[in-house]
Symmetry: C2
Subunit: 499 residues, 2 copies
């Protein structure tokens, strides 16, 4: 997709700067993944799922050592990771994702229409930046890798430095499983280090980037990807506040239950989720703070993923605590002897001060912290909402039968997922899932990193005009030999597998 | 989607720098387009189509004065423009474009799945940069505007300076037609001038940009869009060579027919098409150049769209002609008295020299010029192909029954549309159309500016989790009250309109 001499020159720079990255990208590009069938790749994905589960105990122990997350949580994450891999096997077998579309010729139109057949094809080698907080589900064999391999795109993973040994082990297991399943180990590559990440985004053969991480790091890499001589798509999931609104009627009906739910959600696994509720609008004088204090009294501190994150958490608490009108409450407990552990922390502020205050109120603080914004009346609440930035989620706690359409409209303008009487943590794997949102939640609000349509990030369309049958992919041939869902002359036709 | 104080500050800058642009964007954002129904917007689009056709004679005369394109061509373009508007009315009535997807709760999964319902919603105000070469079909009421209004996104058009009077008149007709159809005139805005374009891309309320134009201009605006504090998608269609490959067998079978087809395609309306075949790989010693010379002898020169383009055309001929191995042939005729007209021009070079030569061989030259690259044997041909950059189209002329699968694979890696035994000019309006390609053909090869999926540029997904029925858009409610195609629990279900 890029110019020849420009590519040669850029590739030389890439080789000189980072020979390991260059070798990894070239090996991935030469692996022939784009020529495999959907059935072959579905087999690979199931083999990868089986391999991860077969090494469950070893991998959970390694991950626990490196991330301090509980073994129970990590075991659940292994199950999730295997489920994601199998989910994408099903998505490509079903075949709708190809968007196969056929139009018959019609010479009577202006301009005349030839025989046109369109479908999506793999974009080329993909760079995946692994996350710290999901050492399995958004790391080496996580959702980005699963969806890219499903699409037919080889993957070069940039390991997260928070779990290097685990990353190496998962990559080795994955490469072995790919080879054993009749694929090629080279479809999956691992590189490490900050410089390697920079070289990866700049490499002329890399066709797209998936990133999960901080706003600062993501923005820097996004800027590199878009500044390339031939820019490439950068699908980044960055920072998200995930605002929650508790209506007066909801607080009146069940303040204790909602406070207990919030306590569980924002402290879960140390509050280290991209969907952690980091900002909660609650009606003043409804006893919400006292109820939350009660609910948090028994919540233990959690050692954060890395020491750097522990330092950043303390800095974040200081930063928020120093803002005009802020009050810091520390209702959580530090576990005995858990040296760099972070205790559950609540910062409170009134809605008028929040809405008039500086932008730093909107900066995500990773870890077990949430900001309670106390409003008096719906007008104060709605003015505070109007100042929010893009988020992955927004949640509404309402009373049964309460009309929250305007609230949903207002929050729908900033968030990719609207949650009703529930909590945003826990992102289901589903056809209807969406995990995206406006800046800074993502760099490209059109796309998702979870759910069936996550595969679309790694695909580009091609249209065939008056092509001989032998040139067409089987999915576009007359008679629909592979039985996938297609659109023919404007009408959707279910595939034979799904009828 | 963007931060509050940041937005306020940026909006102040925008207002100060360009009050007209600020007024236009704010009026568009306040027009309420996102709250209209698909049925209402379909009515608007048909009213716009009717209005353009009702003013056909007046508009064609104005366009002819400003662009020097023939009245016959311009009349056809009015017909095309109306057809595009009506096509998108049909696309939104059918409803598949919403990607409505419903998953029922399943507590047995890891993680558990709640009730999830996903669909696409309008992205917000869209900036459209009109093209010079399609004063109707890719201008004020062209394809970008039609698809954005269809999606529910209001539009601010940056007029092309090549046809200012026409732009103003079409905008006025469009605004009147919108108001008369029960919509709001403010859904369509027009701004003019280079500074206005810059201000538009930087305006905090603009959510996405559509652009059709030069690689240089498009790149500058793309850089602005991605450098914003909150970056926005920039869907640009820039420069494209549209390579054509004539196989030896094809040349042997019908050299005169293919040469005549090429002559018609690259000189059509002065060669001022984004899909003009600007590079043709032909077998040496098959008489192709003589046949082309014959075919071009009767082709008249054409006055180009603007005087600036005429100067750029002469510069382009000089630039290509000065490259190592280049030979310039001028078989076309200049029409009598057509002062700044451009004559059909052919530059020839051998494939080995081309493949080893500088990148400037790959720069598009707008106007009636094509480069013939003479190859000796398939190896020379394939090496030349391997050096090409992204293009909107690639075409293959082959003999009946000839196996061109490898050729199609190689060209499919750079081009968004593959044409067989035909010419790339003339882009049909269709569900299966794709008008995109790798850089520099577009900035985002995932998207198209023609065909049904062009609407996806102006949409973002939202997922509803456990939402009360009253909050859900009708398209996501139980029982599918609007009868659109949906995916339910993983299975595509045709809508009642299309069953």
């Amino acid at each position: 997709m890029t110019g020849r001499h420009r590519v040669d020159a850029a590739a030389q720079v890439a080789t000189d700067a980072s020979p390991d990255v260059d070798r990894a990208v070239r090996a991935a590009a030469a692996a022939g993944v784009e020529r495999t069938t959907r059935a072959e790749r579905a087999d690979w994905l199931r083999a990868l799922a089986d391999a991860v589960e077969a090494h469950r105990d070893e991998l959970v122990a390694l991950a626990h050592d490196e991330t301090h997350l509980s073994e129970a949580r990590l075991g659940g994450e292994v199950t999730r990771t295997a489920a994601q891999l199998r989910f994408f096997a099903g998505v490509i077998e079903e075949g709708s994702y190809l968007e196969a579309t056929l139009d018959a010729p019609d010479a009577s139109l202006t301009p005349p229409r030839p025989d046109l057949r369109r479908m999506l094809r793999p974009i080329g080698p993909v760079a995946v930046f692994a996350a710290s907080n999901f050492p399995f589900a958004f790391s080496v064999l996580g959702n980005d890798t699963a969806s890219a391999l499903a699409a037919g795109a080889p993957v070069v993973v940039k390991a997260h430095p928070g779990h290097p040994e685990l990353s190496r082990r998962v990559a080795a297991i994955g490469r072995d499983a790919l080879a054993a399943a009749g694929g090629t180990a080279d479809a999956l590559q691992l590189v490490e280090g900050l410089d390697a990440g920079v070289a990866l985004v700049g490499h002329p053969l890399v066709a797209a980037v998936g990133f999960t991480g901080s706003t600062r790091g993501g923005r820097a890499l996004f800027d590199l990807a878009t500044a390339r001589p031939a820019p490439i798509p950068f699908y980044g999931e960055l920072g998200s506040l995930n605002p929650v609104v508790v209506t007066e009627a909801a607080a009146t009906a069940d303040v204790a239950g909602i406070a207990a739910g919030l306590a569980g959600s924002f402290t879960r696994d140390g509050g280290q989720y991209c969907t952690k509720p980091g900002l909660v609008l609650v009606p003043a004088d409804h006893g919400f703070e006292a109820a939350l204090d009660d609910a948090l009294a028994e919540v233990d501190g959690q050692r954060l993923l890395t020491d750097g994150m522990a330092v950043a958490f303390v800095d974040g608490v200081d930063r928020l605590g120093s803002l005009d009108g802020a009050e810091v409450v520390l209702p959580g407990r530090l576990a005995d002897g858990a040296a760099p552990a972070a205790a559950a922390t609540v910062v409170t502020v009134d809605a008028v001060t929040f809405a008039a205050g500086p932008e730093s109120w909107l900066e995500e603080c990773f870890g077990p912290l949430t900001v309670l914004v106390r409003y008096r009346g719906d007008d104060e609440r709605d003015r505070a909402i109007a100042t929010l930035e893009g988020s992955l989620t927004a949640s509404i706690h309402h009373a049964p039968g309460e009309d929250v359409r305007d609230l949903a409209d207002a929050l729908g303008r900033i968030a990719g997922r609207l949650v009703f009487n529930g909590w945003p943590t826990g992102v289901a794997i589903a056809w209807a899932q969406h995990h995206g949102g406006g800046w800074p939640a993502t760099t490209a609000s059109v796309h998702t990193s979870v759910g069936a349509t996550a595969i679309r990030r790694w695909l580009v369309p091609v249209a065939y005009q008056d092509a001989p049958a032998g040139v067409l992919p089987p999915e576009l041939r007359d008679g629909n030999p592979l039985g996938i869902p297609r659109r023919e002359d404007g009408t959707p036709k279910p595939g034979s597998r799904t009828a």
